[in-house]
């Protein structure tokens, strides 16, 4: 018997209001973006070996536009979000803060925001 054969109600409804639900969705998306980036990143770095200093530097030149710096920041925020939410999850795995997980989430997000603003300040000082 497959559960999927019969009618089910309100598919898609559920607890979209729950912090945990959103946190998890964003976590998953950020993780997948990072996996994609990881491969791009390795490929970019390998240009150094493949094409030598010239190719590599032309890549960096290409990246040196404000928009791409902005993309870089987006990347950093994805890492920060994923990392700090990841910290929350590892803490929960260790049995820490399961009942206070929402609080822990927001504390982590504040830390992530602080770290991100450091990077952003640095990046803007560079662009401006």
């Amino acid at each position: 018997m497959s559960a999927k054969e019969r009618e089910t109600a309100n598919v898609g409804a559920g607890l979209w209001k729950g912090t945990g639900m959103w946190a998890w969705m964003l976590f998953r998306i950020s993780g997948l973006i990072l996996v994609f980036y990881l491969f791009v990143h390795v490929w970019v770095i390998s240009q150094g070996r493949l094409g030598g200093a010239g190719t590599m530097n032309s890549f960096f030149k290409f990246f040196d536009k404000p928009f791409l710096v902005f993309l870089d920041l987006m990347l950093v925020s994805a890492v920060l979000y994923h990392a700090l939410n990841g910290v929350r999850i590892v803490l929960m795995d260790l049995g820490i803060g399961i009942r206070q997980h929402k609080l822990v989430f927001w504390v982590c997000m504040v830390i992530a925001a602080l770290a991100l603003s450091l990077f952003a300040a640095k990046a803007s000082s560079y662009i401006l």
Binding site: M1, R28, G31, L32, L34, V35, L38, F39, V42, I45, S46, G48, R49, L50, G52, A53, M56, N57, F60, F63, D64, V69, D72, V76, V79, A83, G86, V87, V90, D93, L118, F119, K122, A123, Y126, I127
Partner: protein, 122 residues
């Protein structure tokens, strides 16, 4: 009541990938912080072939980046595997193949990555 328990039997994996994900998560957390601070914070906008070489000359940074590479490849691909499993895309038939492909991709990525880094080290 119709019982479906036989469908549940014989599932593999479990704790080790799960634990691996946590351990690599912690490793990545440490190494990526170093990596990010060095590249995206201190050196943002000043990246160049030589600049990278200068940092990597330290040796410790090479170790950091290699650990990061290994850990993040495992972590990322295992994460990908979890997502794919959740959406049921790797049903029992394709599972072995899927896992094998991930291992191959992972090993290839690590080897390729280290090979690429060696542009600066050597």
């Amino acid at each position: 009541m119709a019982m479906r328990t036989e469908v549940l039997e014989g599932s593999r994996g479990g704790m080790w990938p799960w634990l691996g994900q946590r351990v690599t998560a912690v490793l990545v957390l440490v190494t990526i912080t170093i990596h990010l601070v060095l590249t995206h914070y201190i050196a943002i906008g000043h990246l160049s072939y030589d600049n990278i070489g200068a940092r990597l000359a330290g040796g410790a940074v090479v170790v950091n980046d290699v650990v990061l590479l290994v850990a993040v490849v495992f972590h990322g691909l295992n994460g990908l595997r979890m997502v794919v499993l959740d959406w049921g895309l790797a049903g029992s038939g394709g599972r072995r193949v899927f896992d094998l492909v991930l291992w191959l991709v992972g090993i290839a990525a690590v080897v390729y990555g280290i090979w690429a880094l060696w542009a600066w080290v050597s």
